[in-house]
Symmetry: none
Subunit: 211 residues, 4 copies
């Protein structure tokens, strides 16, 4: 009771709820990239957004929910990107496969800030069911699509490999390349990473290598 202090207020912004939430999620990503997940606090996020302390609870109720929404945002953005890449690619299964291999290293997805967020959540996912669920659900869908495409290519090209294994290998390869980019950004550019990823595909499906 009796909030004693009375002070004049500073600026006041008005934005739609949607905008505010997006703004806060962006700020969260920056904060995780800058300070790490374990040192991302309500203060680092709200200050990164140039807003007040209470704003996060106002829009997300709790820190936990903010983090979950942030993870969901990243995951959703990724999903949209690979769907789009797949749709924009040529008609052949192999072309689509290459497009998917490449999209992981696209400017919009493969930013250091966002990689940091992926790994931050993966790092906690063992002990946080919620995180793991969000991650694995998205990943399952992606793997299925990849496996389907591999299957097609295998049938067309008469390859001897197993579709599931190739899809899993590609996923793993790209995940590992992200890790490399996170840990040694100076030694691994997105361009190089993409080449390695594609050369994996070429190794598996030598008959489809262009040229």
């Amino acid at each position: 009771m009796s909030q004693t202090l009375i002070k004049p207020r500073a600026k006041r912004r008005t934005a739609s709820k949607q905008q505010r939430q997006a703004q806060l999620i962006k700020a969260t990503i920056r904060s995780i990239a800058k300070h790490g997940l374990s040192e991302t606090t309500m203060a680092t996020v709200s200050s990164e957004a140039s807003l007040s302390q209470g704003i996060i609870n106002l829009h997300f109720q709790s820190k936990d929910r903010l983090l979950e929404e942030t993870l969901s945002h990243i995951v959703g953005e990724y999903r949209a990107a690979w769907y789009k890449a797949m749709d924009s690619a040529g008609d052949s299964a192999y072309e689509k496969l290459e497009a998917l291999a490449a999209v992981d290293f696209d400017k919009r997805i493969c930013q250091r800030n966002k990689l940091a967020v992926w790994f931050a959540f993966w790092g906690e996912s063992r002990s946080r069911l919620t995180y793991r669920k969000i991650c694995t659900e998205s990943s399952r869908e992606y793997r299925q699509v990849l496996t389907g495409l591999c299957e097609e290519v295998i049938v067309q090209g008469g390859y001897k490999v197993r579709a599931h294994q190739v899809a899993t290998g590609l996923l793993a390869m790209n995940g590992g390349l992200w890790l490399d980019m996170l840990l040694s950004p100076t030694e691994m550019s997105a361009q190089q990473a993409k080449e390695i990823s594609l050369s994996y595909l070429w190794g598996v499906f030598p008959g489809h290598v262009p040229g």
Copy 2:
């Protein structure tokens, strides 16, 4: 009054410094696996070790140092493992390469608890110079060795690939497979992971595939 009383000695734990530290590092690994890095506290660790609150500061001065030592321990153990695997393998470069690809999925290295620790630290490594340093230094050495072996195999087999790229690809592949095992342990066994890793090698060096 005569000194007839003999105070019963309070039980005394006598463990060498070395032992105590090892015990605490083990407890830290368990705690990170169980609660995650961000919810690993001095209390969770010391309770995991069945020791008192103050013990960690006594032996490691600070929580930060405990965590660094834990990471170093894991990294060192890994380094020892792949050195040993390489030495125990057959004489040919290709055999050594396979041995290295396989050691990542060895029982002693590839435990869920330890994977959780690797990713926990990787997740924070973007913002923690110390962690990143420990990780990249070890990784650099490993990559050099791998690259050297690849070089030998390439020369011997007249392959057209670049050694550095293959080594990096192998590292990435295995890292990505670890991630898969961490997130979906039910869908990815160490055995399967090893097969995928080796089949990557076979794809790159088809002339060396046994049989």
Copy 3:
């Protein structure tokens, strides 16, 4: 483009200041009864009134003032009730005394919600001068009236007791009965309480007992 559009008027609540304030005070009483004084917030009150957050500050400037007005309201209502009861009673001092003893257990005054409010404020009154003042001022007047009536009865009946003591005793008795009703409503009805209160009077003034 012509001004063809007619913006639908947002609904407009038009209630006089008086009505709004009364509505908010009622909501405050309900909130205190439901959540307790210490967990009554601007939010619980405005939601109880189905109005917006800012409404209270608009009408009462501050939470503190809302609470004071609420206490004043309850106290004023009580005062009006006993005045009316006294006026409506028979002409004799004793009859008036009985009417006053009884009014405390009247339906309009002795509601659980309101008892909760009385005790909520009494509970804070030790440390809140404002509350104590409102309470004691009203009580002083009541006690004076009671004492006067007792005096009359004593003189008429030739009793040996002291008027002030009897009046104080009656006040205390009724306050204590309220407490009983608050804490154990199932074991103490207003009817029972009234009987106990009246029997106190009869004990003090045995010559006036009807019948």
Copy 4:
């Protein structure tokens, strides 16, 4: 993680857990009396005890538990007092009854600080089941004992009143007198209150009045 500031520490006290808890409960009583329940914070209590912020959670886990223990303490102390008063009184039921009526105004029980605490908790008891439970349980026992004694006196003296009603009336009277002492300490001393309480008894049991 990484508690950054390192500062020298001040004095350090050692006391048994029991003592510390008692000390904190005393401090809580003082704080409630001084600031009221709703403005009693962890800070007011720990500062009242001249101890650090964290001490309460260390010993009571939460503020809620501290408050419950404080209420229990007061209630228990009261119970012990009236038991002792009853045992120390003369053998007759009436004497015991007088002793019980008087003990409420004993120096050890009837201190303003403690009255403030009683009413603070009563004020919240409507909405706090835990508080109400502690209060009513203790009160039920007391009422039973009182009723038993009244019964005896009634039988011995051939009175026409009902034991339960007299007991309830006495309890209510004393509770109401406490309220009076809380709100108007200058106008109501413990001595006066005791007299009013006893004169209630005398009114009910005129044959037992001494002298």
